[in-house]
Symmetry: C2
Subunit: 355 residues, 2 copies
């Protein structure tokens, strides 16, 4: 393996000193880039792109050629585990992900297999190995999974949802069935992320896109409890380096203390919380990742720089900040605006790392 | 006018003593009720129902015949003002509201007329007068409007939105245009709500469904500032009684202090915040409305009662609580479950009002 040339991202997550604030973008490989669209067209549909290690590697590396990013993130989907469990993931034109065989009852849950990461999900591990090799130690590679609650929403609703009617019906009327599903998912996520780490992922992230639609108690009970189990079950060191773990729940600004208490290294922030508030509350325990509104990339270069400066000033001095967008980059953002963003983070953050 | 027989709702919003906690449900008149569907079929489309004072009155009163509710709320739409401004509101089957003539530029905004509530919006005032008369003083009537930010999202996006791309583009690249729109909308909302009060509304509520998609500073700047202007501009007394004003922003649990500081009487809570936390932070300034997850109405009677008891215990002793769902009732809720909910609030809250 190549030694790592730029380890800012890993150091910042472990709250170690860095020269400038590291930055990457959620969904940095994606449809806003013309070269991504070209590779995607070559692959055919989205899942064929995910399942082709060479092409998944190619799109993972594309944003690194354009921007001075401090991390690469595996190109894949959050719903690979339910697909490997036999739910039949597919995508309809212009719509979100769907499952042909959604979960409808306890028997469905009892019958769910635990996918072997090096069998049913081997295409993901092959992508990790290929990307890691091709990165040649330039920046670390982030592996990821959806959270058990977030995976369960798609598995039970059969796709995207607005009101989460079916899963909430189960949560409030058959909680033991939902808990069994979430526990099975947590076990599968642990296997999956540990396999990504073994294959070369140098940090992992759990995306809980939909935990924020729950009440505080239900969030603890149905989402955070299972992310905590995952944190406890992960390989935390490999190749002589720590493997930082980041948890991200959208719309969870009120619950940062309990997220930080899981023992994770980093907590993702969306843009609905001031980062100085977040730092004051949990900055002595965890690193913070975030938190610019992705829509700010529609603005002028001056306005983007102003926002970057504001967030950097909010975090202030010292390590423990990974700059990022508060959610995925929008597909109609001009690619040159992403460059303004990434460069501004490096340019204006040096002053906070002199100590 | 009839004297008011049940004024719990008004008293609770003014933090005065009550015998039991008052309760009503957002969207209590609506598609979960078979009698609503029958009246709607009689009216034709949704806006024809809103524009027919007798039928709008009928659906407003329907839930009061089934449940022991402590308030009626005007049956209308939040988008009546933009429609009266000439944007052409329409509804497509199975989709949200749409506008034929969305706002695209500064000139569109400069040309927007200020609707006269007793002209272009007279159908709303006629509904208020008819409902008030037919209520015969049983319970107070709540008037309402969308917030300027929330109205602007529909006016600029042309309908419902997930990422709010167009309005955020305007917010970040042409803020002066958006501010002009929001200021015009605030002026129109003031005229509209004061006309509802003059026509007989005994309390008013501003629904800011989409303020929670903003960063904390952008929320202050683009949403709360204009709700504050509305609070300042409203008639606060009529017929010898105070007219309580409630502000509700979904996903705003972190910003309660600044909402309470507008001088409103009540603050609406969704279900993502514990009511004891909210009370500790702003309960000495404002009443709180909320905050049960509407999806809890899918559960068993026992589970619904358990949740009601939990929220009542969270608020604890004393007035200043209006029980409600944290958002609108879902259209597929069994009507009998709503009865369990309403009755449980009255039954289990008496113990907190003995002082």
């Amino acid at each position: 393996m190549h030694s790592l040339k730029n380890d800012r991202y890993l150091r910042a997550l472990l709250r170690q000193p860095v020269d400038v604030t590291p930055v990457w973008m959620m969904r940095q490989a994606g449809r806003y880039l013309p070269e991504y669209k070209a590779t995607r067209a070559q692959a055919g549909d989205f899942m064929s792109l995910c399942k082709n290690a060479e092409l998944a590697c190619e799109v993972t590396l594309q944003p690194l050629r354009r921007y001075d990013l401090d991390a690469a993130i595996l190109f894949s989907d959050i719903l690979t585990i339910p697909d490997a469990m036999g739910l039949g993931l597919y995508f309809e034109q212009g719509e979100g992900p769907k499952f042909s065989n959604p979960i409808t009852c306890m028997a469905d849950i009892q019958n769910l297999p635990a996918p072997d990461p090096e069998q049913e999900l081997q295409y993901v591990m092959n992508a990790v190995r290929t990307i890691r090799k091709n990165l040649q130690g330039e920046v670390p590679l982030i592996g990821f999974s959806g959270s058990p609650w977030t995976l369960a929403t798609y598995m039970i609703e059969g796709g995207s949802s607005k009101a989460f009617t079916k899963i909430k019906k189960m949560a409030f009327s058959e909680p033991q069935a939902l808990h069994l599903l979430l526990d099975k998912l947590a076990d599968s996520v642990i296997l999956y992320l540990n396999a990504q780490i073994a294959a070369g992922a140098q940090s992992v992230m759990v995306f809980d896109t939909w935990g924020g639609v729950l009440s505080p108690r239900d969030y603890q009970d149905f989402s955070l409890q299972y992310m905590h189990k995952i944190v406890d079950g992960l390989t935390r060191e490999n190749e002589g380096r720590k493997i930082p773990v980041t948890l991200f729940t959208k719309n969870a600004g009120m619950w940062l203390e309990s997220i930080a208490a899981t023992g994770c290294d980093g907590v993702g922030l969306d843009w609905t919380i001031d980062i100085d508030n977040a730092k004051a509350r949990v900055g002595d325990k965890v690193a913070l990742q975030g938190n610019m509104d992705p829509s700010m990339l529609y603005a002028s270069p001056e306005r983007i720089e102003q926002e970057v400066k504001h967030i950097l000033a909010g975090f202030g001095e010292g390590p423990g900040h990974v700059f990022n967008l508060g959610h995925g980059i929008h597909l109609d953002v001009p690619p040159e605006n992403a460059k303004v963003f990434v460069d501004a983070v490096h340019k204006y953050s040096a002053q906070y790392h002199k100590g």
